[in-house]
């Protein structure tokens, strides 16, 4: 197939399906979307066979796909397809039609962003992807839905302004590139270059959910339909935001060590701030939402550090995150669809009733916490090594700065583990409330989707070097002119898993040889096991919540003092309040205003 044709199809096919979907009933919508997205996966396969594909009209290059673009495209299609499998059955009936209309539309727009080389096309597609996000947010069923949708739209839409400014400013800094995004290369030596750099950074952070522009992610995760939470903030928007960041770091800008350190610091702050918030959540979706933010921190650290090993690790962490986070969202979604609740205080003990979902959730939780040999560990391991390697060539003060970021990142993953043990405990472990005694396992399409994602977690963990790194990420490095990185340490996931399994079998053999089993009730020292003795796990971290300096921090966070959107709206309202006070409705006062106005006017034109 002709490569330039594939590029058109990548946008046109999902767009066409979206158009068709506006006419047909939900069942047909599902069929169309399923086969349409399956077809785009085939298209991606063809693209892999081509070294480079691009499409020009007159003398403008409209679409190009290089290795970085292809890497992101591949995961957009893969994730959209798997999340669609989950959505095939069990969607919210009221919004089913709209959801299935928006779904292929979003895929089309996201593909558009990645393949656009023309700056204007890039801006248009980027803006549309923000609009799609807003429309998904409107599909929610909770009371806070309109507020959340507005918040999402204002943060994302507001950051689009910065994107437009940044890209146009770059165009003026380097004229003669014919509106081509990839031809730009700016050194940060004047104010305009700095402004462009910071604007693009804001756009990338807002899209991916980096600190301090992350606040829409937890709210969106809580209020939008769970499928869209897995689809957008957990996967597609991460891919887009980090794609922009990676582009900035590889071709668009040339930056110095201090700026790298600043970006790494922002990443480390994202990790620690979001994970501290995640720990104390009582709503399962909000907890996952905060983790979707905190994991972005690792990607920002990796990609922003300027070290090749960490850069590769950051890209790898990006795909790992999309896989395990959508897995976790979908696992929680399965629970939610069976029990009707996502409140961690209410749920509990479902592991016996929903064993498959439980296993998938464990795999997702272990991956995100970086337990070897799952995929999350490998990418984090690469990022840490990258930072250590980077520290070698720095001055002592810079080393300490970087090491603090490293410590925050490593400790962030211990906090992630703690937070997910709470998550698992609150939903699947502990004592089951009596009302959930008749719960059954999630539908086949649901655990098939989570199962596929879990399989990817394991596959990418065990064959990290062979599949994702060598096939997908190293070509990106080669294309950007980086060397293939050497690892600092040693880690052989297959050997780890193999030997641990052998030792495990030895233990099991001893157990089976000496087995002598009796079944009995829980022992509570003679007390009856009443419902009121149930421990949900949401209170696990109360001691940390109430610790001295942290308590003030948490109280401030709960009053939304760190929410840039809330601060902004407070500022706006206080300003408009000021103007309101000036409008008491007295005629004399307005006459006075007019007089003052005339006086000022006269003084000005004098």
């Amino acid at each position: 197939m002709d490569a330039s044709l594939i590029l058109i199809y990548l946008v046109a096919v999902p767009l066409g399906i979206a158009a068709l979907n506006s006419l047909v009933p939900p069942l047909l919508q599902k069929v169309f979307t399923f086969f349409g997205l399956a077809y785009t996966i085939v298209l991606i396969y063809y693209l892999f066979l081509e070294p480079a594909a691009s499409l020009s009209y007159m003398d403008l290059t409209l679409f190009t796909v290089d290795r970085l673009g292809l890497f992101v495209l591949a995961f957009i299609q893969l994730l959209s397809f798997i999340i669609l499998i989950f959505s095939l059955h069990g969607l919210d009936k009221a919004n089913e039609k709209k959801f299935l209309l928006l779904y292929p539309l979003t895929v089309a727009v996201c593909n558009g962003v990645i393949i656009s080389e023309n700056i204007l096309l890039f801006i248009i597609f980027w803006g549309l992807s923000g609009l799609a996000l807003y429309l998904f947010a409107l599909l929610g069923q909770t009371a806070d839905t309109p507020k959340t949708a507005k918040k999402t739209f204002i943060i994302i839409g507001g950051s689009d302004v910065f994107l437009i400014f940044g890209l146009v400013a770059m165009r003026f800094l380097q004229p003669g590139t014919n509106w081509s995004l990839f031809g730009l290369h700016i050194t940060l030596n004047c104010e305009l270059a700095w402004a462009a750099f910071i604007s693009l950074l804001i756009a990338a952070f807002a899209k991916a959910g980096g600190f301090p522009l992350h606040t829409w992610v937890p709210d969106f995760s809580k209020d939008a339909p769970v499928e869209s939470a897995a689809f957008l903030p957990a996967s597609l928007d991460k891919l887009l935001g980090i794609y922009l960041l990676a582009r900035m770091m590889t071709i668009l800008f040339e930056i110095n060590v201090t700026m790298h350190l600043v970006i790494v610091t922002l990443g480390a702050l994202t990790v620690i701030f979001a994970v501290m918030m995640a720990m104390i959540q009582h709503n399962g979706r909000k907890l996952l939402g905060y983790h979707a933010v905190s994991q972005v921190g690792y990607m920002i650290i990796g990609i922003g550090s300027g070290c090749v090993l960490a850069f590769a690790g950051g890209l790898f962490h990006l795909v790992n995150h999309t896989i395990y986070k959508s897995n976790l969202f979908l696992a929680l979604g399965s629970v939610e669809k069976q029990t009707g609740s996502n409140d961690l205080d209410e749920l509990g003990g479902l592991g016996k009733k929903m064993p498959l979902t439980f296993i998938m959730a464990i795999i997702g939780a272990f991956s995100i916490s970086g337990i070897p040999p799952f995929n999350g560990f490998f990418s984090k391991w690469m990022i840490y090594q990258g930072l250590l390697e980077m520290a070698r060539d720095l001055t002592p003060a810079q080393q300490i700065w970087l090491l603090i970021c490293l410590i925050l990142a490593v400790f962030g993953s211990a906090l992630t583990l703690a937070s997910f043990l709470k998550f698992l405990h609150a939903i699947f472990l502990g004592k089951r409330p009596a009302k959930y005694n008749r719960i059954r396992e999630a539908g086949i399409n649901q655990w098939l989707a989570t199962g596929l994602l879990s399989a990817l977690c394991i596959l990418f963990g065990l064959f990290a070097l062979q599949i994702p790194l060598q096939k997908l990420i190293y070509p990106v490095l080669v294309e950007s002119g980086y060397p293939i990185p050497e690892f600092l340490g040693t880690y052989n996931p297959l050997l780890v898993l193999g030997l641990v399994t052998i030792a495990f079998l030895v233990g099991i053999i001893v157990y089976l040889a000496t087995k002598n089993v009796r079944y009995d009730e829980n022992y509570l020292g003679g007390m009856p096991a009443l419902e009121k003795y149930r421990i949900t796990g949401t209170g696990f971290y109360n001691e940390i919540r109430n610790m001295r300096p942290l308590q003030q921090f948490y109280n401030a966070a709960e009053k939304k003092y760190f929410d840039i959107y809330d601060l902004g709206s407070r500022f706006t309202f206080s300003l408009s309040g000021l103007f309101q006070k000036g409008h008491p409705g007295q005629l004399q006062l307005y006459v006075l205003y007019i007089l003052i106005g005339v006086l000022v006017f006269m003084m000005l034109i004098r």
């Binding site: 090594q385 089951r432 040693t490 030792a503 233990g507 089993v517 421990i535 796990g537």
Partner: protein
């Protein structure tokens, strides 16, 4: 897989060696603790007897719990510990890398705590759940200081993370404990492993008198035997890790054997003394202690290490 790996994993320096040495050192612990309390203490074989006797007892499984997870947890923890022991032992005894570096060990050590939590909470017992919550908090408490402690040797060796390279650097430049930063980090590390082994004063998750062994409450028979064995294996793994990171490992030529034994005994005795002279602290006290005192101290060690002191 290379067949000699099986020997490394199962016999020496992995599973069997660690288990036997752990159970033997457990006897020293029990004996010395007994002397602290003016008791006679058990005979040498007591820990072995306990283990095999528990293997013969029946396993009671909670009906409404998650059986597979409940049973798998102690064995996964056991397997992970056996692997970590092999990793550290290969570096100490053979100066060879073995599929993992210091970062891998730091993350694998968490698996032990995770399994305690999952296995305990799988029963639905309220005491187990309380204990599980405390286990995670204790992990969080010591982890921050432990990360800093592990970073000090990494920095001092010029940013090496491979175990055998850490040893090589110490063989060339002298042991890290000899420097100010290394010494501070070693002391903090000693407190961290005390918490990682949940020994007094940090036996908060188990707290026999309060929450009846917490996560282990419903365990009996062979699974309990393996939890006990895991505990004793930690007596080997964590001190060996400290010896590797700060004391330059072992040297088995001539007088070196004596030094090797002395290093190990020194750490064990320090652990036992701390264990026997301190009452159990509350979980918030432990968090405060590690986050507000141990961590800043370890951070000073880190700064000194960067400055080369």
């Amino acid at each position: 897989m290379n067949p000699e790996y099986l020997f490394f994993l199962l016999i020496f320096p992995g599973l069997l060696f660690t288990a036997v040495l752990g159970l033997s050192v457990g006897w020293i612990d029990r004996k010395v603790s007994a002397r602290f309390q003016f008791r006679v203490g058990p005979p040498f074989w007591q820990n072995f007897n306990d283990f095999f006797k528990l293997l013969g007892k029946e396993t009671i499984i909670v009906k409404e719990g998650i059986h597979s997870l409940f049973l798998a947890a102690p064995f996964i923890a056991f397997a992970t510990l056996a692997f970590i022991a092999t990793l550290i032992g290969m570096a100490l005894f053979f100066s060879r890398g073995f599929g993992g570096d210091l970062l891998v060990i730091m993350y694998l050590l968490m698996v032990y705590s995770v399994m305690i939590v999952m296995g305990g909470a799988a029963t639905g017992n309220v005491y187990s759940s309380i204990g599980a919550g405390r286990e995670i908090k204790l992990l969080l408490a010591d982890e921050l200081a432990f990360i800093l402690v592990c970073l000090v040797p990494i920095i001092k060796s010029g940013y090496q993370v491979n175990l055998e390279q850490l040893l090589l650097v110490q063989a060339e430049q002298g042991v890290f404990i000899g420097s100010v930063s290394g010494f501070i980090a070693f002391v903090i590390g000693l407190l961290c492993i005390q918490a990682k082994m949940t020994l007094p004063p940090f036996h908060i998750p188990e707290a026999e008198t309060e929450i009846v062994e917490g996560p282990f409450m419903e365990y009996s028979g062979p699974p309990l035997a393996f939890w006990k064995l895991n505990h004793f294996m930690m007596y080997v793994i964590l001190p060996f890790l400290l010896i590797l990171l700060f004391m330059g490992g072992f040297n088995f030529q001539g007088i070196g054997i004596l030094w090797a034994i002395l290093k190990y005994i020194l750490i064990i005795v320090l652990i036992i003394i701390i264990k026997n002279t301190n009452p159990r602290v509350r979980i918030d006290t432990a968090l405060n202690f590690f986050w507000k005192y141990a961590t800043p101290l370890a951070f000073i060690a880190l700064i000194l290490a960067v400055l080369g002191v």
